[in-house]
């Protein structure tokens, strides 16, 4: 199992959820597809791509819901031969978030949904409401940028 967190407040509820739901992998992301935290087995998964695609599925199904005059779907579930995926939105003081849960045959969608409810509540509790109002980067970042882009393109 590997864990990586961009936003530390999410870690404790996340690890608990993975354990309770018996999930293989859980990724917490923004609606724009940026990974905030993940926990589970990631060896076979490109996380960034998974998050981008997960966010896209939620976004497009939400837009489709709107087309048919429906409220955005709270959660989506796809069952595969060996894995299922569960995608769900939850609102937090940090803003809306999307959670991708990948699970195997050793658990069930029923358990995933049951414990997702608790997880969403825990995220809501734990999320901070802060945005920066100060500069992040030093003013002379451009030399670094030039250097890294040059090495990126091997120029």
């Amino acid at each position: 199992m590997t864990t990586s967190v961009v936003e530390p407040w999410a870690e404790r509820p996340l690890v608990k959820y993975v354990e309770q739901a018996g999930a293989r992998l859980v990724v917490v992301m923004t609606p724009a597809g940026q990974v905030l935290a993940q926990h589970g087995f990631t060896r076979a998964v490109d996380l960034m791509a998974a998050a981008a695609l997960g966010a896209a599925i939620m976004a497009s199904s939400g837009a489709l819901a709107q087309q048919i005059g429906e409220r955005p779907f709270g959660s989506l579930f796809h069952a595969g031969m060996r894995h299922g995926i569960h995608l769900a939105a939850c609102s937090t003081p940090r803003g809306p978030l999307i959670v991708l849960t990948v699970f195997g045959k050793e658990t069930s969608i029923g358990l995933v949904e049951l414990f997702f409810e608790e997880f969403a509540a825990a995220l809501q509790q734990a999320a901070p409401v802060t945005t920066v109002r100060e500069p992040v980067l030093a003013g002379d970042f451009e030399a670094d940028l030039n250097r890294s882009l040059t090495s990126l393109f091997r120029r």
């Binding site: 069952a79 658990t107 069930s108 969608i109 029923g110 358990l111 949904e113 049951l114």
Partner: protein, 117 residues
Amino acid sequence: MSEALLRALKRISRVRGVRGSMWVSAEDGITVADLLMEGVRGRAIAALAASLARKVSGAAAATGSGKVRFVQLEAEEGTLLVAVAPGDLLIVALADRRVNVGLLRLEMMRAAEAAAA
């Protein structure tokens, strides 16, 4: 079909001490039909009962005892019962301590058999 499922649940619920009964998809742990008293958490029961039944089946398989037909979890405050029906379905009942388990088991097995027919 769903009429028949509900009829079976009504029979089960007539047993004294039963607080809720439901048809549950065994693989997904999701309710197919239910008849619950107020305050009974159907979703949690469906998910956890299906998971328990699956783990008990795993243990029975490990001991070479064949397929599991019926599971009964007895606890301080009541009993959770699961009968395995054909077609990936379970019949789940939640009862308090006063329940006549023999009678309840009979009703649940009857429902499971009816589902097979």
